[in-house]
Subunit: 201 residues, 2 copies
Amino acid sequence: MKKTIITISRQFGSGGRTVGRMVAEKLGIPFYDKELVEQVALESGFAPKFVEEHGEHSPGKSLLSYAFAPQGVPGVMKGLSTADFLWNIQCGVILQLADQGPCVIVGRNADYILKDRKDVLHVFIHADMPYRADRIVRLYGDSEKSPESRLKEKDKRRAVNYQHYTGRDWGASENYDICINTATIGVEQAAELILNLLKDE
Amino acid sequence: MKKTIITISRQFGSGGRTVGRMVAEKLGIPFYDKELVEQVALESGFAPKFVEEHGEHSPGKSLLSYAFAPQGVPGVMKGLSTADFLWNIQCGVILQLADQGPCVIVGRNADYILKDRKDVLHVFIHADMPYRADRIVRLYGDSEKSPESRLKEKDKRRAVNYQHYTGRDWGASENYDICINTATIGVEQAAELILNLLKDE
């Protein structure tokens, strides 16, 4: 079956988002990254910033209390933790976007959420620590923490979140159609490779 | 740095060996699979069949006694277990082959053994259980055990062996430049993709 939807899961700093944007632009199809966050924010009532930080990074057993929930939300959440509530909305939004047609979706465990659709190509983008450390300093500047400890923290949080909601190991090759190391293959060539795969089918 | 050596690690039944052979034939470079087993056999004094079965599949703490070692070998093994002894020879043979020039090496943890060379492309080939089960029955016929249990056993033994000698997780994408799912991408297209990657550098 022809694959027209692409999910891009990526290690922080690996350039996965850039790869996704390149693919979407080249194909002239929607690219969902921040847009997805905004949609989840809209449907949940949470602020986009909050959704962004907790959509991929918080463990299921959130320590957040309903105190953070916007007005009217606690009733809707029906006893779910904030993280579980956001997860449910995120699943709904992603399934809906896929139903609308060809697109590229970055992150948010979309690989798992869309695992049963045959028209989806699942990509994982990763790179070694030195490459990613250099890249995040260039793109986002320095911070109090070393780039390595920022990366380690992000990696850990994504892995915990992924494991919790999918029961699968983050970065295990078996969850994807293709995994690409941008430190050795390069960001542009990764995008090209994906485009070739879609073309050849 | 241009990559001229390709290591192919693969799940049993995924078609990784076929992908490797296609790449080697197309590039006109040596393909080491059985040939590697024969070289290790020659240098160790063990029978090729024994090397094949234990080179990737036995845990480090082998239960095999020296009783299985060929004449003259126990003295040379200097207290190493059979598995550790074979591992050492395997490392030496693989490093030597890589020094001789461009080639494709299938299996035998060559990805780890050659991890410090910059001229090596590390590939992992995998596929889901139904695809592999169907493939091994077509290629190797039926056996007393179900194809699924044969696959599970092989997967487990390779994972244990890999973990023991490399300290890394078998099939974790971060150990490779590229991981390809042949069940969805296809064997021929996987070979083509690798050839493209080598060409573009």
